[in-house]
């Protein structure tokens, strides 16, 4: 078999004295959607922050297509073809939707030394993208992010990843805050990404969403990977939930309370 797209080897991460990752090994293959599950504080966001250069790792190494890469900053990760949509969807509230979409990769119009942004093109693309992610309401692309609803903001972040298609797209809880139509927009986007040859890491607490799109499920608990090859087609939601919480069936039934089953 060829080298995986991403291979993280024995990665550990300390925040001060708190160990958020403990010897984690993790791979993503080409054209694969990996679902990353785990309870609150399991270390999912930390894992992908390390991978996208947002925080430095304490020990271990990262390989992209078999080549060792130092992720010293987000720029390194972007250069390696990794695009990330953070949980706290990192947008600049003062800037408009269009300006946020293209932040860091603004198209230029006219001679290069004039450094002039192609605002029209940006606005046009922004309008199209918003429709694609399922925002039906007509929001002008000049609207500052600060006056959008929670879900609308999330949708903008998604739209950004859709436009700049990278080798690996990381989505940290992208369906939080999203309504029915918008959620389906995201799931459709993920499937489309794979079909056009990209890989994805998909983090979500809503296991139903995960089951709908991923090829493989990885489960983390308290900083460690406790299962890394669960096939969603051959496993039940309940079984995965048990792996996530680390409980026996009985404990789980109790924790879920009387109403749920």
């Amino acid at each position: 078999m060829s080298e995986p797209l991403i291979r993280m080897d024995n990665v550990s991460k300390f925040y001060g004295r708190i160990q958020a990752l403990e010897n984690v090994s993790f791979t993503v293959n080409e054209r694969e959607i990996v679902g990353l599950l785990g309870d609150n504080g399991a270390g999912k966001s930390t894992l992908i922050k390390v991978l996208s250069g947002a925080v430095p790792l304490t020990s271990g190494s990262i390989y992209v297509r078999g080549k060792k890469v130092e992720m010293k900053s987000t720029t390194d990760a972007i250069a390696a073809g990794i695009e990330t949509i953070y949980q706290d969807s990192a947008l600049v509230t003062q800037l408009s939707i269009a300006r946020n979409l293209f932040l860091g990769r603004e198209p230029i119009k006219g001679p290069a030394f004039l450094n002039r942004m192609d605002t029209e093109m940006m606005n046009q693309v922004a309008r199209d993208l918003l429709k694609q992610v399922g925002i039906s309401k007509n929001i002008p692309p000049e609207t500052p992010i600060g006056s959008l609803s929670g879900g609308e903001r999330q949708a903008v972040a998604i739209a950004r990843a859709m436009h700049f298609d990278s080798d690996l797209i990381i989505l940290d809880e992208p369906t939080n805050n999203l309504g029915v139509a918008e959620t389906q927009g995201v799931l459709r986007f993920v499937r489309g990404a794979r079909d056009s040859g990209h890989s994805c890491i998909f983090i979500a607490h809503n296991i139903h969403h995960v089951f709908q799109v991923v090829d493989r499920i990885v489960v983390m608990r308290r900083g460690k990977v406790v299962a890394d090859d669960i096939d969603p087609k051959k496993t039940s939601v309940e079984a995965v939930e048990r792996v996530i919480t680390g409980m026996t069936d009985e404990e789980l039934a109790h924790a879920l309370g009387p109403n749920t089953h």
Binding site: A54, T74, I78, A90, L91, V92, Q94, R99, N115, M117
Partner: protein, 323 residues
């Protein structure tokens, strides 16, 4: 059309400026005499150049307290070279400007690489630069009054009359700076980075924007324009005093903030700053003209700043409630 004008953030400062002009003019009609207008413009644009650069820097979330000292230091350095017979004026000018740029570079480096708040860095730099100006001159001002005929002096601040108005070349430098910096902030990629750097630096960094490099460049811009303004001022006033520019930093920041740029970064307006510059300078000029007693000068400046801010905030609120 009118509605869109009112909705703009620059509307408040505009009203203030108009109000101010009307009041002063009503009290003393000489206020709008060509002589006085030419006079006010001359110094206004010098401070204005600094305020424009500061607008960009503040939009990116930093500020620079050392501009006043650079304003004083740069001409002193240049004239020390020139008067000492070490080099012709052109080279002295270039070297002084390079040194000013270096000061900005150091500011930027401390702020971005060492992650020290710009308040402390530039306060420290203020003292170092001011001290150096004193030290190299031994406190003696440099003489500049033989520069008048030099072509460089002409280009920088040569004056001529347009009808009854005495216009200095520096006005064109100022207008050029307004156009260029306004264009950079609103129309270019770099402008987008500047706003993002001030609005949410982490988000900007996550998108691969070179936040640190942008900030360093703005620090350099700020120092360079402060030095440039200092040289212009020294040629125009025929004085290069190591103490000039004292306290300008606060006045410049006040201009920027009155114009509507956020003190915390992320939102900046060049047009607003231009209005802010005029609001403050016209105020200083008008106050002398209407004969406020010398000792009460500061009371008036302070009270007017407070009063204008109150009006500003009232306008803002009315405007929000109204639409």
């Amino acid at each position: 059309m009118l509605r869109r004008l009112i909705a703009r953030p620059e509307f408040g400062p505009l009203i203030l400026l108009v109000l101010e002009l009307v009041v002063f003019w009503a009290i003393n009609p000489d206020f709008l005499s060509p002589l006085n207008i030419g006079n006010t413009l001359a110094f206004t644009v010098e401070l204005g150049l600094i305020a424009l650069a500061m607008t960009l820097l503040m939009t990116s979330g930093e500020f620079d307290l050392s501009v006043g000292s650079v304003f004083g230091f740069t001409p002193v350095l240049m004239w020390t070279f020139v008067n000492g017979g070490l080099m012709p004026m052109e080279i002295g000018f270039v070297i002084a400007m390079v040194v000013a740029a270096l000061i900005g570079l150091v500011n930027g480096w401390f702020v971005t690489k060492l992650k020290i708040p710009s308040f402390l860095v530039t306060l420290g730099m203020l003292l170092v630069v001011r001290g150096t100006a004193l030290f190299i001159t031994n406190g003696f001002p440099q003489r500049t009054w033989d520069a008048g005929g030099h072509w460089l002096a002409q280009v920088l601040v040569g004056d001529f009359y347009v009808g009854p108005f005495r216009i200095y070349m520096s006005l064109f430098w100022f207008i050029a700076a307004v156009i260029i910096l306004g264009y950079v902030l609103n129309r270019t990629r770099v402008g987008n980075w500047i706003q993002a750097a001030g609005g949410n630096p982490n988000a900007a960094r996550a998108r691969g924007v070179k936040v640190d490099r942008t900030k360093v460049a703005l620090f350099i811009l700020c120092s360079t324009l402060a030095g440039f303004a200092g040289i212009i001022s020294s040629v125009r006033t025929s004085a290069a005093n190591p103490n000039s520019g004292m306290g300008y930093e606060l006045e410049v920041i006040a201009m920027v903030v009155i114009g509507g740029t956020a003190l915390t970064g992320g939102r900046g307006t060049i047009i607003g700053t231009v209005l802010g510059i005029f609001i403050l300078r016209v105020m200083r000029n008008g106050i002398v003209l209407i004969g406020v007693p010398g000792l009460a000068y500061n009371i008036f400046i302070g009270a007017i700043i407070l009063g204008m801010m109150a009006l500003h905030s009232w306008l803002e609120r009315r405007h929000h409630a109204g639409t």
